[in-house]
Symmetry: C2
Amino acid sequence: MEPRISLVTLGVADLSRSRAFYERLGWRASSASTDTVVFFQAGGMILGLYPRRLLAEDARLDPQGSGFGGITLAHNGRGKAEVDRLLAEAVAAGATLLKPAEDACWGGYSGYFADPDGHPWEVAWNPFFPIADNGTISLPE
Amino acid sequence: MEPRISLVTLGVADLSRSRAFYERLGWRASSASTDTVVFFQAGGMILGLYPRRLLAEDARLDPQGSGFGGITLAHNGRGKAEVDRLLAEAVAAGATLLKPAEDACWGGYSGYFADPDGHPWEVAWNPFFPIADNGTISLPE
C-alpha cells in the first residue's frame, strides 16, 4: 500500500453549515460537490464533508458515538505569527478555540480550534518539518 | 488559510502495535519518530500516531469518547483489482474488514477496513478523481 491518504472525510450534522465554514476559511468547493457531499482540493489530497449518519453507514459502522473521536487534523504554517493569525481567522469564521497557541515542548508553537461539528484542528509551526512553496510538508527520512 | 492538511494524527491505545500495523502495510516510519510518537511521510503530508489520551490532552479535550469518531480516511487506488488487493493486504496485516469492496452508487468501487484502534479506512477506486504517478489525487475544479 503506497503511503498516502487520498481523502479525509468529516462526518457533519449540517452540510451547508460546514461547507460555509470551510469556505469562510478560504477553501473552495469543487464542482464535484452535490447536495449530499462536499469536496475540497487540499494540496494533493481531498477533504470531504458528508452527513455523519451516511458516513457511518457507508463504512458499515453504527453511527452512535460521542466524545473525543480519537483523530486530529493539523494545518502547519510557516511561523508563529501565521499560527496566531490562522487561529484568529478560524474563530472569526465560527470555530471554537480549544487552545490558544503556545510554545510546545517539542520546540514548535501550536494551538487548536474545533470546526462546527467539533472536529479538532491543530494549527502549528514546526521548525523541524519544512513546508515547501506548494504546501507539502516533509519529515526527515 | 491555504486549503491543505499537514498532518492527520490517530490516537492509539498501543503505539508499538499501531506502528507495526502500518509498517506491515509497507509504510516506513520517519527517524523523527520516538517512543511517544510515530510519523509516516504520506505523499505531501504526514500520518502521525500518538497515544489517544495524550492527543486529547494536547487539544485540551476530554479523552473520553466511544463509538464512531465521525471521521474516515481513504486510500484511493487505480482500479478495482487494486482495491481488492489492498483490502486483502490490510486484513493480512491485522486490520478488521468492515465492508468488502463493492460497486458504489457513485460509479466507483469501495470497501473499508479498520486499523487496530478501529480507525476506519476506505479503500476505493474513483474513476472521476484521477491519481497522478506521484499519488496525488485531483478533483474537477
